[in-house]
Each structure stands twice: as C-alpha cells, then as structure tokens.
Symmetry: C2
Subunit: 829 residues, 2 copies
C-alpha cells in the first residue's frame, strides 16, 4: 500500500490515476480496517453492477450466462465508486462522533450508489420487505432497478434518505443548504458531480456559505467529485489546473482539500483522514460560534461587529477519481475506466458478445460476492461498519421531512383585516397590509419559517417582516448598513439575487419539514419554472410512496405583476408562469389570484396551513381598491369563485352579460367597465363574477377544485356573453374551460397578449384590450338588443379612451381621475 | 491629485471611497487630458440626470423649478458613473489602437449610461433626428426616456449599439462571448453588475474562456463593476475579501486587475492605465496565437498538444466605485452616494420638497451643463474624444447584426432524403440521417455557423458533425481523448453542461449576424424558457425599430423527447416548453413537429433559411417509421398540415372518424391505431391527418400560419369525431383550437398528462392514453352506429393492451411485435 503524498505545484498532473495525492495527511485506518473498507467498497460496487445487469443468479453462484441478464440494460456506473468512497468513510465518522447526517447525491443518475448503501444499511429491506437481506431479496433488489414498475436511476422519492433526485442538474448545494438551515446539528454530506458543476445554478450556489450562520444552522460538507467526464465530454473543472481549481474554491470562500488518485489503499486512507479533518473543523467552527453566543447576545436591532460571528471558511473536498473506477481500463483497445464510455452501462453488448460477457463476469467476480454475501446477507463485520437506527443516512427522518414537520403556529389572519365599509370605497396596498400578518407568522415561528427572495422583499412592500427577522448576512458590514440595511447574521429573510438559489434553498428547507415563502417579481419567476416543475414532480411522486409523509407546501408569492410593469417595459411583462404550473398534476398545484387585501390574507393563511402543494399566489403590491370585508373575503376564498352582488344588476335573474375577472388589476378594470356600461345603459342586467382560485374554471373531473358544469352555469350561465378579464395570457382560460357549456360561443377572454413597451398602466391595458373601455365595448358588441344607442355608446367610450391616452402621452401619467377612480354609484348591497 | 497606490493585502478595506487603488500602475493621461476626461465624465452624468428628471429647461439656463420636472420620475442612476468611466476610457484606446469594439451593459436598468454615450457620440441624433444636438433636441432626448411612447431604461433594441437588454439579469458574459466567436478583431467591452453577478447563469458563464480560441475568435474584456448594492441589499462579491475575490477570478481562469476608489483624478488615471494594459495583453495573446498558426497547421484529426494553442489568462477588470458615485453623500442624514438609496431615482421627492429640489439643482449644476453644452452641443474638444464613424461603439454594425448577416450556403437537403418506397415500410433514425445534412451545413459555412448543446450532441445522434467540426476545447487534453474525444481548439461545436450558457452564446452569435442551432434534450429545455422568452421579446421589438435589420433565426432542436424518456423516469418527462413558446408574439415564434426523416430535413432547411424567428423543432432521435418520400415531405411541410391518403379509407368522402396526430411518436401510435380499428372494422371510413406546423391549428387571424376555418373543416370536418394524438400536453391543442367549428364537441385530444415513472415506451403511452390501443378505443367510443360489435372490439383491444403490458412488466421491454410494428396492410396509395 502506497503513501499519501502531499500535493504540490510541481506535481500538476490532472490524471486521476495513481497513488493518492491528498492535502490532508494521515493514515487513520489500521490494516484490519483498511481491509474491511476495501471489502465494503467491493460489496457496494458489486450491488451497483448487479442492479445494472442482473435479473437472476444474483450472487454469481452459477457461471454468468445471457439468461441472467436483464433484457434492457439501464443505469449508470460512472460516479458510483467515488460516491461510495465518500459515503462509507462518512459512516465511520457518524459512528465515531455520533453525527446527525444526510447524504445528497448530486450526480444525475447516481442512484445505484445510494441504493446500494441503503441496502447495505438494512434500511432498504426494512422499508421494502420484498427486497430482503437474502439471495432472493437481492435478486428482486437488482431486478426492480430501472425496470417497469420498479425504481428509477436517480435518487427518486422511493429512495430512502433522499431529498434530492437530481434528474435536472444543478441544485444539490442549494438543497443541502436549505436542509441544514435551522438544524444546528445536521451535516449534509453532498456529492457534486463535475458535470452538474458546470450548470449556472450550481456555480452560484457555492456562495450559499455567505448565508449560513454557524450558531443556528448546521453544515454542508461538499465533495466535488471530479469524475472527469460527462456523457460524452470532459468536464471543465477536471481540466483546469489544480491551482485554478484551488483558487476558485478559495474564492468561493471554502477551504478545499484534495483527494486524488486511484490506488485503493492509499485512497481509503486519504478519504478517511480528509473527511475526519473536515468533520473536526466543522465542529470546531460550530463550537466557537455557539460558545460566543453564550456571552451577552446583541439585540436584533444592534449593529453586528464585522467579526461577530465570523463566517468560517468551511471545509470541502475535491475528490478526483477515474470515471467508472475499478472497471476494466480498456476493452477492445477503447478506454473504459477513466473515460466517458464508463458513464452509463459500462459494457453494453454483453448479451451478444460472449467475450464481453466474460469480461463482465470476471469484473463482477473481482468484487467477491460469494465471500461478502455468503448467504445473500452482508457479512457481519461489514454490516457493523454501518451506523445504527436513525443515524444511518438512508434512515434519517430529516430526509422524510413530513415526519418531523411541525404545523406553523398561525396568528389569526382576521385580526389583520382591512376595514371595508363600502366596497371599492378605499384604496390600500394589499401587500403592505399582508406584510403585518407575514411578520407575525415569522415572529411566531422563529425556527421553522423563513422568507426567501431575490433582493425584492423590500421592493415588494414586505419589509415589515424585518421587525422580527432581518436579512441573513454573513459578509462584511459597512457603516452605511446601520440605517436601513436590515442585515443580521441571525436574520430570517434569505436574499440573494439568484432565483435558482432562493428556490433551491426553499425546496431543501421544505423537504426537511420546515415552512417558507418565496417572494418574487412575477416577470422573473420563469427563471425557475423548470425547478418548480421538478419539485411538483417530486411531491407528486411522494404521494405514491407510502412511507413518505406529507411535507409543507412550497409557497410562491408573485407580485410586481405584469399590469404594473408598464414603466419597466417589455422585458418585465411576463405572466406565463401560470401556464407552466397548471400543466403539473392536479394533486399538487394550486393557483390563487386574490382580488383584494382581505382575500390575500385569507389565501395566505390557507396556503400556510396546507401541505404537499405548490401554491402560487399572484397579487400586486401597489394600492388597489378593496372590495370585501373579512367575512366576505373568507367566504369568497372558500368558494374560490363567486358572484359579487354589490356590482351586479341582474338581481339573480338571467343577466344580459357576465363581467368576470380573475386577478386584482383585472378585477378593478372589469368593475370599472361595469360602471361605464351602466352609465350608458342604466337598465342593463350585469352579473359580476370573480375568480380567486384558478382551478375552479376547470372541470371537477380534471382537478379536485374544479366546478361541476352545473356550478359553472350557475355562475357564468350557458348562453349569455361572458367578458372575462384575466390576469395572465388569455388562452390559459380557454385551455381550462374549452369543454364548458356554451363557452366556445360565449366566453370572450381578455388578458396579456404580449403587447407592451414603456407605457402607463392604462396604456398597457389598452394595448392588450384589458382596460375598462375596451371591456365595456367588448360587452356592448356582444349584448343583443341594445338598439341604436350601441353605436353612440361605443363612440363615446372610444373617445374617452383616446382622451385618457392623450393625457398619458402628454404627461407620462394616466389621468388622475382614472387612477384615483372610486366606486361611488351607490349600488344596493 | 493623488497617486495610484498598489493594493496589497495589508490594505484590505472594501470601502469604495478614497484615492484609487489599482493593480496596474501608471498615469497615462496628461493634465490636459485628465481635465478633459473629468469634463466628459461630467457631461455624461449630466445627461443621465437629465433623462431621469427633466422635461424642460434641459441645460438649466433657468433656475430649476417643479414645472421642469417630469411628473413621474423613472430611471436608474446607480451604475451610471462606473459604466461611464469604462466606456469613455475605452474610447481613448479605440482611437489609439483603431479597435473594433462593442459595449455590453450588464447592469439591469443601466441604459442611461449607454444612451448618454450614444448621444455624445452623435449616433443617437443620426438615428433619431428629433433628438438633435441642440437644446431642443436635448430636451426631447431627456423627455422620451422612460416615457410612454419613448424608450426604456434598459439597453432595449431602440438603443444604438446594443445587443443585450439586460431586463432579466445574468447573460452579459455569454452574450459577449457569442458576439466575439468567429470575429477575430472584435472586442466586447462588457460591464457586469455585481447584482447580476449573483445569478447562476452569470456565475458559470465566466468559464466561457475555456471555449474561446484566440486564433479565430475575438476577445471579451469584462469589467466586473462592484457597485456595492442591488435594489435593497449589499452584493455578495462586494463584501468578500479582496483576496477571495482575486482567487475567485483567478480560479475562473481570468487575470483580474483592480481599480477601486472614488477620487476622480486618480481613478481616471487608474482606469486609463488598466484598460490600456488589458488591450495590450489581448492583442499580445492574439498575436501569439495567430503567429503560431502560420507554422504548419495540424490537420483537424490530429491530437493537439496540450500547449497548442494555449488558453491565455485573459485580462479582466474589477472596478469598485460607490453606487451613485458623485451624488450627494447624505441627504437628511441618510446615505445616498455609496448606498442602495442611489440605485434608482436618487432623490424621489423633488416635486414636493423644495429643499431636496435645491439639492438636486446644485448637484446637476456641479456637472456644469452650460459650459459643456454651450449651445446645447457638446464642446468640440470633448466631441473629439469620441471615435469616428463605425468605430463609435454605438454605431458598430456588429451590434445591428442583420447588416452584416450573410445567408447560409445551404446544401440541397433533397440529397439527404431517406428512400421511402412504401410508406411506413422502413425504420430509420430521422435524426441520424439529418446529421449528415447538418454536417454539410456546418462544413459549407465554416466561419458563420456553430452548433451548441449541453453535452448531448453525440447522445442526440448528431455526431456526424464532428467530421467537419469537432467540439471546441481549450482545456487540457488527455491520452484518452485521442479515441472518440472529438475535441479540438478549432472546433465548431460548443458544448458545456449549462443550457444557459449555450443559449446565451447562441443568442450573442445570432444577434451579431451569424447562424446556429441549439440541440437539447426536450425535458431540460425549460431551464432556459425565460431566456427564450426574453429573446423573443427582443426580436419582436426589433421589428418596430426601423434601422434594425433582420437577424438569423434562433433555432432550437429538441430531441430525446418525452415519449422516449420512459426509462429515465418522471423528471425527464416534460414537453411543456411549447406552452411557453406559443404565448410569445406570432410574428416571431414557429413550432414544427416533423413526423419523419424527410419532413425533418425539409423543416431544418426551412428554419435555416428563415430570419428573425425563434424556430422550435421537436423530433425524436430513435428509429422511427418513415412515411413520406422527399417530394411528399416537401409538400406536407410546405402546407404544414395534410391528409395522408395512404392511411385513410374515407376516399375523400365524409369520414367516420378523423385520426389526427402531431409529433413523430404520436403519429406512429395514431397510425397503429388506424390499423387496429380496421382490423376490427374493415369498412370504417377513417381519415388520417398529420400536423407538422403547430400554428396551423390556430386561426389565421391570430397567427400568420393559421388555417382559416374553411381550411380547418376541409381537414378535420366540423362534425366528425377527431382523435388527436399530440406530442405535448393535450391542453395546448385546446388552447389553439377552442374557436374552431365543432371543436368543443368533436375534438378529443390525447397527450402527455403528467403520468409517468420508470416505464417502457408503451407503458408510458398507456398511462397517458396516447398508445394505439387507447386511441383506437377512443375512436370506437365516439363513432356512431358501430352496433353490437363495438363492445367486443373494445374488449379485444383492451386485452391486447393488457397482454402487451404484461410482457413489459415481465421482461422490461415492450413486445417485439409492437416495437417492430410495420405497416403491411397494403393500403392503396
């Protein structure tokens, strides 16, 4: 067995082959331990190959023949050896130091590594008794892998101990940080693939260390695995100089420790020593920070000194091993081990090429399955190397967050009600008002709720929350921050200008049993639409996994909405996130567009109290008319849709027209259109319908919230014109309602149709025909029997619209009378 | 004036205030030059404040009163001074070295800086004669900014010299690299905001330097502007130690040079010296690389030595200045300069607070507008500091890429035709076949076409392209790469595992007049859906800007489609990108789903020959049945939709059912369903309709490709059941067709409805009811007058379906007969 040798700059080969080169010296393992780790490594890798190849003869008690092979070979071997090395040596430290840890597998299809460990720990068999710890159980364990009706090649929800599937790459580190926030004893051992490391979300998520407080949070121990290759390409980080690599991670604020090579014995020693060094460092940093806190703690309003608490240079490991380590180096003259050919199924033609089958058999037998699993059960001395009970990483309840989830203690949202004496008689920022409630949700749950956002919380008028929880900031503090900075090492608001990182943190936080809210400008939430897709898929699949408990909902509050992005221009006008969300499974997605402040309170409360959903709430932050008292709002939101009698003149009879709306700005314009219509035709029977819960529009067959057709007709009729003013792209409403009785003839939807520039709010609405004048004209054009007055009314409305536009083009502002428009027509209520 | 002092580690203050600290020493400016730069700086900043505040009295010839102010104050001052410093000192070098350069403004609302420079260069007045170089022109220039009907506060398409709007942050560097690829003399001076620098896409795009070849490409000169604050927060990079910052960018492979401070004279000298150092370095690297190429050039198949050509450590600048530099330091005791309050409109209440109005006036007058613009025209000695003609960065034709765009030389795609003697009689990978055409497109256009992809080109069966252009790789080369690595410093294929970077590079490449194709797995293209949104908005807005020429289309080829992601599981099943794209303006988006290989060729040709679109092409990479001869394919694709007589039995008469499809896998199952139906009911009159061009489905009123209702009825009828098998989420078809005659009753759409796991292709289809059996049963259930045989046929189909599933669950594969299904029913053709 060779020595670990200290890497120096004269030793700059980037090849992963050779005796271990490691930053941290030491040989912590005795010869007996070393032998055992070599055996454990073999046992682990044998299981991986078994999963990829075998449907029978699981321990190779018979010579390997084609009939033992799966007909369709699937699975990925490439990153398994490196992941196994990290996992098993961390187990040693879990036992030695009684660590509370989870394992996050970043590499895409890296599940075989994780599944093997869970099986070896016995957890897999506990949860899935079919895959028992015997020969037949092993056979089943192999066969189900990447097999119809079985389990996937990622660390899917079916995988014990997983909170991170990694199908779409890039989020391992942000998920890990989310998991350890507010879990001071937790360590997330996180292997990051070097392919994944090229993604943008991963590249910025390394900066998460500036937002982690060693006093109250746990630690993330990243292992950047320089596996060398992606599917068909070398990786960027594996081909830059060691100096650049070290600089890069020093620059990110980590203390990188290298472990490089392929010599088994020396690599085992190096990994054992390095991981132990990291754990000791982590515990030291935590102890120092927590010891400091026993001295008088500064009040939350005080200005923290730059050195308190210090941001530690947390340790990380850069592990360089050959891709497909321990596979045959070459087959038929082509490199396998240490090249991208080892990425997926390492030898693909074993069913048709008997020489290759023999190579595979020899390779598999080199792992000595019959010695290590003599009766299909791992030998006791290896089994004893695993931790016990919940200390086993695949059994840690943190990774089944629903188990440890505590319900939020929610203040009574009614106490934050906006007084509404007369519907539409007062203008208030619903968001500003709701911020008081949000502050108290945060204050009442000081360890289990955080607010996330990409530098927009204050802009979104939610800054009241800083009264109980400032923004987490572990960087330098300047004099200027004293006044209005709202920064603190012990804050509760997480702000980084990366929607990806915010979303990743929140996902990790929620999946480990805590609660949170992501607030964002509406136009830029599409940045994370693919992440939200993937989270929806995760929680939907969890519903099918019996042992998974329901987790907290992932709540997304969208504000600075399209209709108030007039002045920011075309790039800021995109309400299309809803189109993405509604395609996901009806079991897990909910979309709410509260029309006013009391509805917003009711909806927020509902979302915070829910579980296992992705809740999307869309509400503007500017001042808006308020329509409903709290009691009315609760009723309206509970129903999700309702006729608003105070703006209706149909007295329960068949209306001439239904003026419907969904979204706060859209509702406002729709009601203003009713006003205009009645000015011209006071006898019109108009019905005002408002939608809070978007899924009310779809059939109850397709979504649990959907209306029956009968309920639909009771609100919208089946034969009267409906002018529907919608917050987002109008076609979404058609997609939801295409089967409704009469909808194809009667339903006229207005919404954002990709028309905009530097505008005023009215001008932007007019371009998209969602303004009061256009809506009123829409109605006029569709109500039968209006007679000769129709043309005159239309012209009058058009002229009023033109006059209003002219004011905007002259002054840069909409007419005061319009923006200050109030409801004063004295409807009976 | 103070000295520049060399920064050292003992001088670690991160404050942006004080005498310049700079890595590069030198005082290149004479006192006269220094005075002029100070004046030019003042003139520039004055214009910025004018844009934000003034609608009258543009040169402050009268005392400033409320009536001179815009009623609605909009715009951002924060990053303007730093951007101006970079821009104007680069002008000096453009003149001195006759540089060909463009300027990319990364900071979000940074347009005032760019607009001011364009105005000072005279370009703005040339393009927009209203904004002439006199007092009235200046007044108009001010008033139109962030004003309805005017221009935005980003570097929008209306902004001369811009290829990067920056509304959604994070793409400045990838756009810059895209612009300089294959433009060996171009330098893209790129200011990156420190807010933007926190985004994921930006964080990984710094690695673009590993993909730039100094022989054939130009250079990007990044200026990371540590402005200190985002909207309401400090920035991460401005609050880490200088050592960490230096390490980070060294680690990214750049040579960072610091320029920090706020003392005007010393900062001017430092910036002038540092920029010049960088330009000299860039030219030296280029010269070295290009000189080397005059020695015998290695053939493209040879193995490059690790040192040839070397990847230079390109220079970059880290510029630290106070946010809102030169603004009042404090107002009413609150920090303004050097704090986030200077981000947007620096003093907001000037209309109502006369003291603040006086502060603003004093501030504006400190820039001496009347001395510098005596007759509303910049004094000649300052005007002379700008370059001339197209050397002015805001006049560079590269940034109006349509001007320099050359049409692709396209080989005749017919020559790559797949022979189809009998429709559905042969199975071929359409993608593999098309790769030959793509190879020759690339080979025929060796300097104006590149292929981009996130490590999936080979997996996507496009590797034939490596015959004429390998993958660009400027990193280390290993022995293993010789066999199958396909790497070369002078490649034409751009692969990094970052969809963001690929998309950003391609956007930059296309916007500067070149051509390209992005190939990606379908499930992960949603990662860049927001980027594609923004690009659509850019090219749509360009249509309204008279002087902008049409650029090449941005082509996105999606493969490894949802229906062949059965084995990869649920995370890999997401065809929702189309929902995002169709919401964009019909002027700019096109979506094609070619059913077979000849159609794919025809579609690709069409897309390559088009301009100013975002073309999305969806086609699987596996083997599929081939249906159309090349002539038939051309006709089918030209029409975009067609009845396929070879699979129809309605003989032109009214059919009993229309079996429609869109997408290759979907078409295959639909035709198999026709086969099943005819087995049970040989006399059925079935019409087979296929859709290539998705927008055919929508009304011609809403999209130029749309069918009229009459054309719709000619294909689909208005009263017969239509079983439409769709590639993506079924609701998209309903969204497109909700107004079609009879559609609400007759149109039954099947598609992916978010049901999946580890499956076989058939199992995945069955879960989503898109398989042949389900489609046939769908048809049976909707065709009237089938009598008693209906139930028996349904049961028989159901049993056949169950048997097929059972095979899959047993073997892991679909029944051979099913996957190898061929068309052998002898339809008349």
């Amino acid at each position: 067995m060779a020595e670990s040798t200290r890497n120096d700059s004269s030793n700059e080969s980037l090849s992963p082959f050779g005796v271990a080169r490691a930053t941290i010296q030491g040989k912590p393992l005795s010869q007996q331990e070393l032998d055992r780790y070599n055996d454990f490594f073999k046992a682990s890798l044998y299981l991986c190959l078994g999963m990829i190849y075998l449907r029978a003869n699981p321990l190779l008690r018979e010579p390997l023949v084609k009939d033992h092979l799966k007909l369709r070979l699937l699975g990925h071997f490439g990153s398994t050896p490196g992941q196994t090395l990290a996992y098993m040596h961390f187990n040693r430290l879990i036992k030695k130091y009684d660590l509370n840890a989870i394992y996050i597998s970043g590499p895409g299809h890296g599940a075989p590594a994780v599944l093997a460990q869970s099986y070896l720990e016995g957890v897999y068999s506990d949860i899935y008794p079919d895959c028992s710890q015997d020969t037949e159980g092993l056979r089943r364990f192999f066969k189900q892998f990447s097999f119809p009706g079985g389990i996937g090649s990622h660390a899917t929800p079916e995988t014990p101990g997983s909170i991170h599937e990694g199908g779409e790459l890039g989020y391992a580190i942000s998920h890990a940080f989310g998991a350890v926030f507010d879990q001071p004893d937790l360590i997330a051992l996180t292997v990051v693939g070097d392919g994944e490391a090229e993604t943008g979300p991963m590249a910025t998520s390394w900066h998460s260390n500036k937002f982690l407080n060693p006093k109250v949070d746990g630690a993330v121990l990243p292992v950047l695995h320089l596996n060398g290759y992606k599917i068909n390409n070398p990786t960027v980080l594996a081909r830059i100089s060691r100096k650049e690599l070290e600089d890069l991670f020093n620059g990110y604020g980590w203390a990188p420790h290298f472990v490089e090579g392929d010599d088994l014995d020396s690599m085992q020693q190096a990994m054992a020593a390095t991981l132990e060094h990291c754990v000791i460092e982590i515990r030291r940093f935590q102890k120092e920070a927590r010891h400091a806190s026993s001295s008088p703690r500064p009040s939350s309003s005080s200005y923290p000194s730059p050195s308190f608490p210090a941001r530690p240079r947390w340790p990380m490991i850069i592990l360089r091993t050959p891709k497909g380590w321990t596979a045959p180096r070459k087959i038929d003259g082509n490199y396998l081990e240490g090249f991208w050919r080892a990425h997926q199924v390492p030898i693909t033609d074993v069913a048709t090429n008997s020489e290759h089958l023999a190579i595979l058999e020899k390779w598999m037998r080199s792992y000595e399955p019959q010695r290590l699993f003599p009766d299909g059960h791992l030998v006791p001395e290896l089994r004893d190397m695993c931790p016990k009970g919940n200390r086993r990483m695949s059994a840690n309840p943190v990774a089944n967050g629903g188990i440890i989830r505590q319900h939020l203690r929610l203040p009574d949202f009614r106490e934050y009600a906006i007084p509404v004496e007369r519907s539409a008689g007062v203008r208030v920022s619903s968001m500003l008002n709701m911020a008081g409630y949000l502050r108290d949700v945060m204050g009442t749950n000081p360890h289990t709720f955080r607010l996330f956002g990409p530098d927009e919380t204050q802009s979104n008028k939610l800054d009241k929350v800083y009264e109980v929880g400032k923004k987490v900031w572990m960087g330098e503090y300047f004099e200027e921050d004293k006044n209005g900075g709202n920064l603190s090492p012990e804050g509760r608001v997480m702000e980084i200008l990366s929607e990806h990182t915010c979303e990743g943190w929140l996902e990790g936080y929620v999946l480990t049993g805590r609660h949170g809210l992501f607030n964002s400008y509406e136009p830029f939430i599409p940045i994370v639409s693919s992440m939200v897709n993937q989270h929806c898929k995760w929680i939907e699949k969890c519903l099918e996994v019996e042992w998974r408990h329901r987790v907290c909902s992932l709540n997304i509050l969208l504000t600075a909405v399209v209709w108030r992005q007039d002045h920011n221009g075309f790039t800021h006008q995109d309400p299309g996130f809803l189109d993405v969300v509604v395609n996901k499974s009806p079991e897990v997605v909910r979309v709410y567009l509260p029309p006013d402040g009391n509805c917003l309170l009711s909806v927020m409360h509902h979302c915070f109290a829910s579980s296992n959903y992705v809740n999307v709430i869309v509400a503007d932050k500017q001042e808006h008319l308020q329509y409903l008292t709290m009691e009315e709002a609760i009723e309206h939101c509970t129903k999700g849709i309702g006729i608003w009698p105070q703006f209706s003149t149909d007295a329960g009879a068949d209306p001439d027209v239904v003026m419907a709306s969904c979204g706060d700005v859209s509702t406002h314009e729709s009601i203003a259109a009713i006003d205009l219509l009645l000015r011209h035709f006071p006898e019109l029977r108009i019905r005002c319908v408002n939608v809070v819960d978007l899924f009310k529009l779809i059939s109850h067959i397709d979504h649990p919230h959907g209306l029956t057709d009968r309920e639909w007709c009771a609100a919208f009729t089946s034969n009267r014109p409906i002018i529907f003013n919608f917050h987002s792209y109008p076609w979404l409403v058609h997609r939801l309602t295409y089967r409704r009785p009469g909808a194809s003839q009667n339903l006229h939807v207005r919404g954002y149709k990709e028309k905009g520039n530097i505008d005023t709010p009215l001008e932007l609405a007019i371009r998209n025909q969602t303004d009061r004048f256009s809506l009123a004209i829409d109605a006029l054009d569709r109500i039968p029997h209006l007679g000769n007055s129709r043309a005159a009314a239309r012209e009058s409305l058009r002229n009023e619209q033109i006059r209003a536009r002219n004011v905007a083009f002259e002054t840069g502002q909409d007419p005061h009378s319009l923006t200050e428009w109030m409801w004063d027509r004295g409807f009976k209520k």
